[in-house]
């Protein structure tokens, strides 16, 4: 109900925009020039998707591995030490991650990864040719975001794996399975939906993250041609322009529409994932 309420309010505020342009023009439009009355969301949506994709590529596999390791192999005492630590890290505010991004990741990308990519891989791989010398861009933001959602995914994965019944572990082990085989089977047979849920949680978090991304992504509205290019995700668009939006016609409606878009993607993705998860659960039972 609240979801519908939020969506309705945002829709209402973005009506002036929707009555002037068609959805096709808005979502497919590539030019964003509020002063001339042009509102094309495509580069922003692309920016959001790219940043999230990089973040997930960085985070998911190590996070799931870590979660499994924590649940299956680490001793009781080690877990008692590591878990609170993870919880602490989940709680660190995004501004702090953003700050760390500026202090560490951006210089790292600018002075090390960038030049290295230029020298060794360069144009050999798609998306690796280097064009942006500043360090602010897709890769930096993706790295920061990836690190940010990492503890979240680990924590949920760990919980899921701990919920695998002990009898199952014993049954598999007494068949002479190694611990890794036992783990593999528990993941495949029991843990998969939960781990998927963890990934979805991470995705939502990364897709909607504002400050940490805004601080490191460079904020240039374009389709990235390399992984070092700056882009301009949706949340950053909203956050950056709230001050001036009152002075330009339709600008406010346009930003509200951006928020609506963001909401739409996250909700659709969440509901879709939930359907998949429920299917999986039913198939396993």
């Amino acid at each position: 109900m609240v979801v519908v309420g939020v969506a309705a309010a945002l829709l209402l505020r973005s009506l002036p925009l929707l009555s002037t342009f068609s959805l096709f023009e808005l979502w497919g439009g590539q030019v964003w020039q509020p002063m001339r009355g042009l509102f094309g969301y495509a580069p922003f949506v692309a920016g959001s998707l790219w940043v999230t994709a990089v973040a997930m590529a960085v985070a998911v596999v190590p996070a799931v591995f870590s979660g499994i390791y924590l649940a299956e192999y680490v001793s009781e005492r080690g877990r008692g030490l590591l878990k609170p630590l993870l919880d602490l890290l989940v709680g660190i505010p995004s501004v702090v991650y953003g700050l760390w991004g500026i202090l560490f990741v951006v210089p790292l990308v600018r002075d090390w990864i960038g030049p290295w990519a230029e020298q060794t891989v360069g144009d050999g791989l798609p998306f690796w040719g280097r064009t942006s010398p500043s360090g602010y861009g897709l890769l930096s933001a993706g790295l920061v975001l990836g690190i940010m959602v990492f503890p979240l995914i680990v924590a949920v994965t760990e919980e899921v794996m701990r919920s695998v019944p002990r009898e199952m572990r014993e049954a598999l082990l007494s068949l002479g399975a190694t611990r890794w085989e036992t783990t593999k089977c528990s993941v495949r047979c029991v843990g998969l939906p939960g781990i998927l849920a963890a990934v979805v949680l991470g995705f939502s978090r990364a897709f909607g993250e504002t400050l940490a991304v805004m601080m490191t992504v460079g904020n240039v509205a374009q389709f990235p041609s390399t992984i070092f290019d700056p882009v301009y995700p949706l949340p950053a668009l909203i956050a950056n322009n709230y001050g001036e939006m009152m002075s330009v016609p339709l600008y406010e409606a346009a930003l509200m529409h951006a928020a609506l878009l963001l909401l739409g993607v996250v909700v659709v993705f969440n509901v879709g994932a939930r359907l998949v998860i429920e299917r999986l659960v039913r198939r396993i039972r």
């Binding site: 009898e167 014993e170 007494s174 399975a177 047979c189 039972r285």
Partner: protein
């Protein structure tokens, strides 16, 4: 193949001394029943025989268990090999959350026992536990849909499919209805010729029906063990007598 020899076995749960200086020989191709009141360490003893106790971190095991002349607790011993040779049938049937076929096939698959003739192995094992006729046309439906008695037989088939030498049964009939329990019992009896069977039970009558040899445990100590006939007819220890006449326990 499959004779076990327990030597000076001690187990601690944290500070609690759960098994005290156990020494026993378990002969091959016999059914050895371990009896005693609940909490006396029967299950602990059983799980120490295939090193499943190690899952619990507070547990400390000292002493040796020899299987065919080799200590299974030797430092460089491969645990998976030990557990392959010593199978366990748990108290509650726990079918793996997969199809009936995959339940039986899982073990042979990971051990690489059967290239190509997996179907035959599955069929043979299911026939051995008398389940084949009941499930032959729904092999690929989830195993959890079977009745509890069928599930326990499936678990037995799963355990036998990895070709163990020793079969440990941890009160495997306790959570079943009487008819299924009888079914499992008669199955166990038919398996005696091919496996060494160690059977934990709190049911003295069951031990009487099945066992060739009996171990009697009391508060973590091994009170008495010997051939079933002598054990039941002329128990040596006063404690055993009292337990058998149900004065204690």
């Amino acid at each position: 193949m499959g004779a076990l020899s327990i030597r000076d076995l001690n187990v601690w749960y944290g500070k609690q001394h759960a098994l005290k200086q156990i020494n026993a020989e378990i002969a091959q191709n016999q059914i050895t029943a371990v009896i005693g009141p609940s909490g006396c360490g029967k299950s602990t003893l059983l799980k120490s025989l295939n090193r499943l106790l190690e899952l619990n971190e507070q547990v400390r095991v000292e002493g040796q268990v020899w299987l065919d002349g080799e200590d299974i607790y030797r430092r460089d011993r491969d645990v998976t090999e030990v557990r392959t040779r010593i199978g366990l049938l748990a108290q509650k049937p726990f079918p793996l959350p997969m199809s009936i076929y995959d339940n039986v096939a899982y073990g042979p698959r990971i051990h690489g026992l059967a290239r190509g003739n997996l179907d035959q192995i599955v069929r043979a094992q299911l026939e051995a536990v008398g389940l084949w006729a009941e499930v032959r046309d729904r092999l690929h439906s989830p195993a959890t849909r079977l009745s509890v008695g069928q599930q326990q037989r499936l678990c037995l088939a799963r355990t036998l499919a990895v070709e163990p030498e020793v079969l440990l049964c941890d009160e495997s009939t306790a959570s079943l209805d009487p008819i299924s329990a009888r079914g499992i019992e008669s199955l166990i009896r038919t398996l005696r010729d091919r496996y060494t069977i160690v059977l934990v039970t709190h049911d003295i009558d069951q031990a009487r029906r099945l066992a060739d040899a009996v171990l009697f445990m009391w508060l973590g100590e091994l009170v008495e063990y010997g051939p079933a006939q002598r054990f039941f007819e002329q128990p040596q220890e006063a404690l055993t007598q009292q337990y058998l006449t149900r004065e204690i326990g």
